[in-house]
Assembly symmetry: C2
Homo-oligomer: 343 residues x 2
Amino acid sequence: MATGREIAELCGVSVATVSRVFNQPETVNDETRERVLRVARELDYQPNESARALSTKQSTMIGLVWDTDHRRPGWRHPYLQDLLIGLKSALSAHGYHLLMLATSGDSREVGASLADPVGYVNMTRRHHLGGLVLIDSGSDAEAFETFAQSGVPCVALDVAIAGPKATYVTSDNAAGAASAVRHLARLGHSRIATITGPPGNQPAEARISGYHKAMRESGLRLRDDYVVAGDFYRASGTAAMQRLLALDEPPTAVFAASDEMAVGALLAARAAGLRIPEDLALVGFDDIEIASVVDPALTTVAQDKPGFGVAAAKAIMAMITGADREEPVILPTQLVVRDSCGS
Amino acid sequence: MATGREIAELCGVSVATVSRVFNQPETVNDETRERVLRVARELDYQPNESARALSTKQSTMIGLVWDTDHRRPGWRHPYLQDLLIGLKSALSAHGYHLLMLATSGDSREVGASLADPVGYVNMTRRHHLGGLVLIDSGSDAEAFETFAQSGVPCVALDVAIAGPKATYVTSDNAAGAASAVRHLARLGHSRIATITGPPGNQPAEARISGYHKAMRESGLRLRDDYVVAGDFYRASGTAAMQRLLALDEPPTAVFAASDEMAVGALLAARAAGLRIPEDLALVGFDDIEIASVVDPALTTVAQDKPGFGVAAAKAIMAMITGADREEPVILPTQLVVRDSCGS
DNA sequence: CTGAAAGCGCTTACAG
DNA sequence: CTGAAAGCGCTTACAG
């Protein structure tokens, strides 16, 4: 590995000049600059990022906080892949890399295990990370407070946080849910139930309020027995559907707050001998891959998956370069009409 | 941020001793060690990783090479998420983090854009990465040669590479395919076709050879018109199925080399008025989530998804700590019998 | 068991 | 426009 010093010697300049060529090229004489650049290329010079970070006290990395190995082992972010792609590309455009922070502690290390928020914050300091992107893995909301207060730039996905350098991005869940319910109402349904996400989860709550709003606006009666709680996973959708079907007056349409639960509901309905959409109209939320392949294909509220990553990257970069607390980003959703609710 | 020097002063020892406490604790006097440890804890000391890496010439990060933004925009690794989880956990256990290398070049930087292999290798040097995990994103095979020859420890997923410090992990694709075909044969089918992956793709080729082997062993006739090429994606499965159905003597069973293509085939068969499994038996490969939710649920050859990550991590760690070229890891597969092929 | 010293490779005021 | 010097915070022989 060639170093700046070698280049300096070969060019007959000082290492300071070599450094300037790469960091403030405009301040160095054209001729000198070209010479340095040429030699650098010949030696395949790669600046040592550790030295750079040590000296500047900042790295070109953003940390990703994503707990994988505790609680809800089956949990899977509904569109992690799209999100990562968006995030990585947007970050790349700014020359930043994405560091997936280790999660299980290396007990030899100072400080607590990485599974806890302070562990992550510590890692952020050790590596001089530019910021943190937080993926909610269920019930991390309060841990996220720690991040938000730590002062390091961070943006959370799907959970509202606030702090000196903290913000979040989420879908317009209320509007999305409302559009789904309104669509059902327009199709003539009046007995519209909803299967919700877990209590306490913010997108889940917002979707419930969207459901309420659209029901009211459509002049439909809200009844408690038409709101049954799930946990976003498939099995809970099945269970919820069974409860709805057991009602004296079962709904003719169901809005499930996730595609997974919609699929679960679909399975339950099918098992009960109902035809979809003839006997029961169904709408989901997310527009994950499954939605389009299930039979009948699921009408659903699509989230802007790559948009999450892009917005997160943008917010992080803004905060790194000064901004003090970005406005939260609320991404629009889109109703994708397929076959599961008739038309 | 407290530094080692501050601790040293507070404890009345040298920074060398502080350093030893964390790196070779056994070499320092018990009492001194405890004192340093206590003060370190009080100050919430976090060793500066940049300084550490600069001094030791190695970081605690492994790079992930995963090209996302060129070619095949729709391409998605069939189980990236499970793979990442396995990889991250296994790496964490060794105290390593996973760095998702930026992919689009920051043109201000020396050297070529990151989209090319040398860009990645350069980044590896700059950051003193311990090694590289390579995810094949389609036609990167030859670029992977560059990595393999570079001397940095690397393990590729699903593409065979060899080099001073290179190895790979892949499923036993031939055996997996053979088990699927054998199962079909045992069910009484003799007209068994296959929809293959893209030519040149190693897992695809291996699955074809497994198909051949099982056909021969089952005493079934191999015919060219029963082998039609796809590209692992859904649409190609549909197209391939249509071609098979147009044959004078269409197959009664189809082994698709990916679940996505199997779903595509299923759609085509259904559109043609065939019942599954009555009129056509279908087996896929991968066992992605869709397989179990499609109707009828897909019989498929499951890959050990987290196993990929774990094996990759293990191989990387072995190579970092000395080993010169690990043996390739061939993961067993498992036939998951569901409804799409009768029983 | 411990300290002084050199070194890792860069950046950044400060002079000139 | 350029160089000398100090500094970033750690690790590691080398003495003692």
